[in-house]
Symmetry: C2
Subunit: 200 residues, 2 copies
């Protein structure tokens, strides 16, 4: 049994959104499962690597044009959001809670959150918006409230972040397969070669 592709993403990352729309098909092409991991790459996030792109870069003219162009290149819907640097930890915690119980449902939820932010320009930092998206993915309101507030959920999410740091993750999207790290959509062709013909 081959190792899965570990897929790390931040709900605030437009590049993560674009990756989320194609990563499962990538896995299928190479007979690999894909394990999704929601992250929050905020000021508290530490990584072994010395690369840090400031959040303000996401508002640069270049990145705003680049994301639109990349979406067009990938044939995906995209509308630049009016809100930046949103706090997406609640959505990430709900994702993790679902993912521990039903990964397919968690992916539905993640697609909903990403499309709400990067296609429909919704504020995914608002609890009501996240609750509505969770409901559409089939999460009962009581479960949502429990998942939002339980200390165990917060501890579980913290452990996920610690694991990402230990693995040397520092960006979104970020892929790991057999210990090899690939940062960004632009490294997907290199990841594909790895999956097709092994280490190089």
């Amino acid at each position: 049994m081959s190792a899965p592709i570990e897929f790390y993403f931040d709900f605030a990352s437009p590049y993560g959104y674009l990756a989320s729309e194609s990563v499962d098909a990538l896995g299928e092409r190479h007979g690999r499962s894909v394990v999704w991991h929601a992250l929050v790459l905020d000021a508290n996030f530490q990584s072994q690597d010395r690369i840090r792109i400031p959040a303000s870069a996401m508002r640069s003219d270049y990145v705003m044009r680049d994301t639109e162009r990349l979406a067009a290149y990938m044939g995906l819907p995209y509308k630049a959001p009016s809100l930046h640097s949103l706090h997406t930890e609640l959505a990430a915690r709900i994702f993790q809670w679902l993912n521990d119980r039903n990964p397919a449902q968690a992916k539905d939820f993640a697609h909903g959150v990403y499309r709400a932010y990067f296609v429909d320009d919704q504020n995914i930092a608002e609890a009501e918006v996240v609750a509505g998206l969770a409901e559409r993915a089939g999460l009962a309101r009581d479960d949502f409230n429990a998942a939002s507030n339980e200390p165990a959920t917060k501890a579980r999410f913290k452990a996920e972040i610690d694991m990402a740091e230990a693995r040397g993750v520092f960006g979104s999207p970020f892929f790991i397969v057999e210990g090899e790290r690939f940062w960004g959509n632009d490294r997907v062709p290199q990841l594909e070669r790895w999956l097709a013909s092994g280490p190089y």
Copy 2:
């Protein structure tokens, strides 16, 4: 007559080296000339964009592995240099001096400098090393000395940097065609689509 591809690079940038080995073939595939521009992306370099990757990132485990893997992916020779954050302004000034007089000779020189640094592990910050590389590209020693020290050469190089900043360049390699900016080898597929079928 189509606009040329403007190719910006820093001699200290391994990604710039990898781009330098393929950019002219890219231009030829699409019937475009390629204008090369040497840069020094040091602490004095300002750009309109808010993206700044610290020089220390070039020593990160991730980037060191990524450059080796990208070279293998592109089928190019590469040996991680033992010296980092070299001061490459002299090589850039000599390049500019040559490029104003004989672009083909300047490209020969640029290939020599890049391969000396990223294949043969030479210290391209040393004047003697640069002089030897210039001589191999056909630059007489007297011309080298003049190009190294003339105030006009320094002013010309400064103007090149100002032009790059005005155009919104902030990394290496960096490509501009018809005002559209593409940062990094990983945007070359998007650049190719632009060249093949126009703006999107």
